[in-house]
Structure formats: C-alpha cells, structure tokens
C-alpha cells in the first residue's frame, strides 16, 4: 500500500495536485452553505422585523 | 404624442413606482409633483431613454422609444440637475458644441442672441467656471432657444434662478407650447403657467403609481 502512495517518487506532485483539487472542491460547497445560512438568517430576521412593525 | 403605459422603475432594490400610465400631447405641459425620493428624476430619465424601466413601455407617436432610439432622441431635450456644460469652455463655446451635438446649426450671431436673451449679456466669452450657479443654469437653459426638440424634459429648471430668469423661462416655455411643443416639468416653487393644457401628475405617497 505504501508503494501506492509513493507514486514512483512523484508522491508530492501527484498528491499535491489531486489533493488541492479535491480540497477546493470541498471548500467551495462549504463556503456556499455558510453563505446560504447567513442569507436565510437575515431573511428570517427581516421577516420578524416586518411582523413586529405595523406596516 | 408621448404615451407611458403601466411603467415601473426600481432603483437599487427599492420599487419607486409601479403601473404608472399617462400621456402628453401637442401643446400640453405636465407638472410632476412628489416628495423627495418619490422617483421624479428616475421617471424623467426613463422617459428620455437614459434609464431602462423594469416594467411597462414608453411610446412616442405609437412607437416604443427603445426601437426609435435616434429618431426619438432628436425630438427630446433633457435638462437635469447637472447642467451638462464644461467649466473650462466659455458660455459661447458650450452653446455652440451642444447645439452641434443636438444636430442644430446655429451661427455665431444666433448664439450671441440666445445668450443675451437668456440674460448673460457681457458674460458670453468667460469660462463658465467663473460664472455663478444661476448663470451656469442659464447657459444650460440657453439651449432651449436654439433647439427644435418637440418634447422638453426639464428637471427642476427654476432652481438657482432669480425672479427675472424664472419669468423669462416661463415665457420661453409658453412660446414652446404655443408652437405645439410639449413640456414635462418638475419644480418645487409655485409657478403660474396657465397657458394651454396644463396637466398634473402626483408621484409618491397618495399619488398615481404609488407602490
């Protein structure tokens, strides 16, 4: 198994490439999720604000 | 003949007015009233084609202005809050350049007369930088004398003008209406202009097109 990770001496480069690619493809959705949570929270707060105020 | 059919404009994410309809025909003057922020300037800029409305249509002689573009802009003269004149040029140069751009050929004498009539006698060849706010406004308004546009859209034309200038401008507008022109005017001062057909349009709270 170790030989597999050794990648014929190119371990740093192969795992560096695949690693960063997949890492970014995980980070991007996570950023989106937090952005979505933030906007939903804001909408909820605005909704409460409107209900409270006599419009 | 100008027709506006259920127009809606949004500024930023605030809806200023919605399904606003009115029309303006030959010899008519339309006053636009409304508190600050009621969308008067936005409406005027939409009508002269500077701004795309989110809903509704503006028609000139039955044709939507978006298709007409240059034929329509030939017929429109818009004077907004900004004078549209260059500070480094003299009043004379400003007027000559603006009329050439408007496609109106005026000679040197016509320019001098226009400036004299608008009350800038003696100031014609000074860079507009040194003129007062009211005088700069007169330079911008001098175009009304030279221009043959049928539809005048004037956004608070009387600001910064003294009594005599207001009087003179009303006279110019009356002549324009008598010639069959149309004017669309916003102002905060009380201005008595009763000649011809005068219509009113109230924007904002309690007015037409209220959100």
């Amino acid at each position: 198994m170790a030989e597999f990770f050794h990648m014929g001496g190119y371990a740093l480069y192969v795992w560096g490439s695949f690693g960063v690619t997949l890492l970014l493809m995980v980070i991007e959705p996570m950023l989106l999720k937090s952005r979505r949570r933030a906007i939903l929270k804001r909408i909820a707060r605005m909704a409460r604000l409107n209900v409270g105020e006599v419009s | 003949m100008l027709e506006v059919v259920d127009l809606e404009c949004v500024r930023g994410d605030r809806r200023l007015f919605t399904n606003l309809s009115f029309s303006l025909s030959k010899g008519e003057l339309l006053y636009l009233y409304g508190h600050n922020g009621s969308g008067k300037t936005t409406l005027m800029r939409a009508i002269c084609g500077l701004l795309q409305p989110t809903e509704g249509e503006i028609r000139w002689d039955g044709e939507p202005i978006r298709e007409l573009s240059e034929e329509y802009t030939r017929e429109v003269l818009y004077i907004g809050h900004k004078n549209g004149i260059k500070d480094d040029l003299t009043a004379l140069e400003n007027l000559r350049v603006l009329s050439t751009l408007d496609g109106v050929h005026i000679t040197e004498e016509q320019a001098w007369d226009a400036l004299k009539r608008i009350g800038l006698h003696g100031f014609e060849d000074l860079p507009t930088q040194v003129l007062s706010q009211g005088q700069k406004r007169r330079v911008a308004l001098a175009r009304l004398l030279a221009h043959q546009a049928r539809l005048w859209i004037l956004d608070e034309p009387f600001t910064a003008l003294d009594k005599a200038a207001v009087e003179m401008l009303q006279q110019v507008i009356r002549e324009h209406l008598d010639r069959g022109g149309m004017a669309f005017l916003t102002t905060h001062q009380e201005v008595e202009l009763t000649a011809g057909q005068v219509k009113q349009l109230q924007l904002g709270k309690g007015g037409q097109g209220c959100v």
Binding site: - | L50, L51, E70, Y78, L89, L98
Partner: protein
Amino acid sequence: MFETFLAIVKRDLILAMRRRSDVLTILFFFVIVVSLFPLGIGPEMNTLRLIAPGVVWVAALLASMLALERLFAIDYADGALEQMLLTPQPLSLLVLGKVTAHWLVTGVPLVLMAPVLGIQYDLSLDGLRVLVITLLLGTPALSLIGAIGAALTLGLRGGGVLVSLLVLPLTIPVLIFGAGAVEATVSGLGGEGHISMLAAILVMALFFAPLAAAAALRVSVE
C-alpha cells in the same frame, strides 16, 4: 454625422489644451518609468538593448492605462455625458471622437517621446523606426480597448485601479505584437508579420471597441 465627430474631437482638444498639466503628467510618467529600469537592472548596454522594446512598450501600456481615468469621468461628473447619450448621433461615433481626442493628447506624445528613450537604451536605428511604427499603431488600440474599461468602471470608487485590472489582460496581444515587432527587427528576423497583426488588431478595435464602450456607457449612466 462627421461634423459631430469633429465637434467632439475639437471640444476635447480645446479642453485638454486648457488643462495642459494633465497631458504632461502622463508623459512624465512614461519617461520616468522607462528611466527607472536601468537603475534597477544595471547600466550594461547589451542587457538594456535586449530589454528595451519590452520596457518601452510596458511603460506605454501603463501610461495609457493611467490616462484612461480622465476619458469619461469629467463628462460624467458635469452631466455632459448624459447629453451625449441624448444626441441624435450614434453614441459609438461620439465615443470614437472622444477616444481620438484622448489618443491625440496622450498617445501621440508617447510615440514622439519613445525614440528619445530608445536612444537611452542604445536601440538601433531600425529598432527605433519600428518602435515608433508599432507605438503609432498600438497606442490607439490601447486607448480604444481602454475606453471600454473606462466606460464600465464609470463613477465607481477605486475605478482607476479597476480599469487596469479589466483592461490589461485584453491589451496583451497588442503588447506581444508591439514589443515582438521591435525585437524581431533588431534580431534581424524582420517585424513585418507582427506589424500586420498589430494593424489587424487596431482595425478590429476601431470597429468593435466604440460599440462595446457605448453599450457600457449606457449601462453606467443609468
């Protein structure tokens, strides 16, 4: 039609002459940037001769970026731009007029100054000749492409820097063929291919850039 084009060019030239300092600052920027490189890289003539085309061209690029700020900003501020949108003439023609005046005021001085700076880098006579030709073709293209960026970033805070970020990637072909032509001539390969490409880019820019800039102006003035 052509009359309004001349009216705009004349108006802008008069305005530029009345504010001469703006014109000179851009020219000085060009001279200073080109003169900085020998101080950074060292006085050996053969290295300087090698980097001369690239340095002069990059400096010309940066100088024209710097000059873009003035193109529409003043007209936008005093409302003259609104009036230009409302004239019965096609807006792209007026934009072409403004860019022509802008090029005459900022581009031509760069072209005239370039040979002097070329001598500073001991560029051969052929090299200087081609440098002037490429700049003569290149600087209008830079102004035209730059006009799109200036129109897009009208009235934005930090617009000056943003223009460069938007426009520089689009001007890379002009830089490549401009500097490449001089280098090819100096190394004897002959720069005709590059010059013809540069001319082709200029013609394309002459046709498309005013249309794009006009559309961008309509969006920005709204």
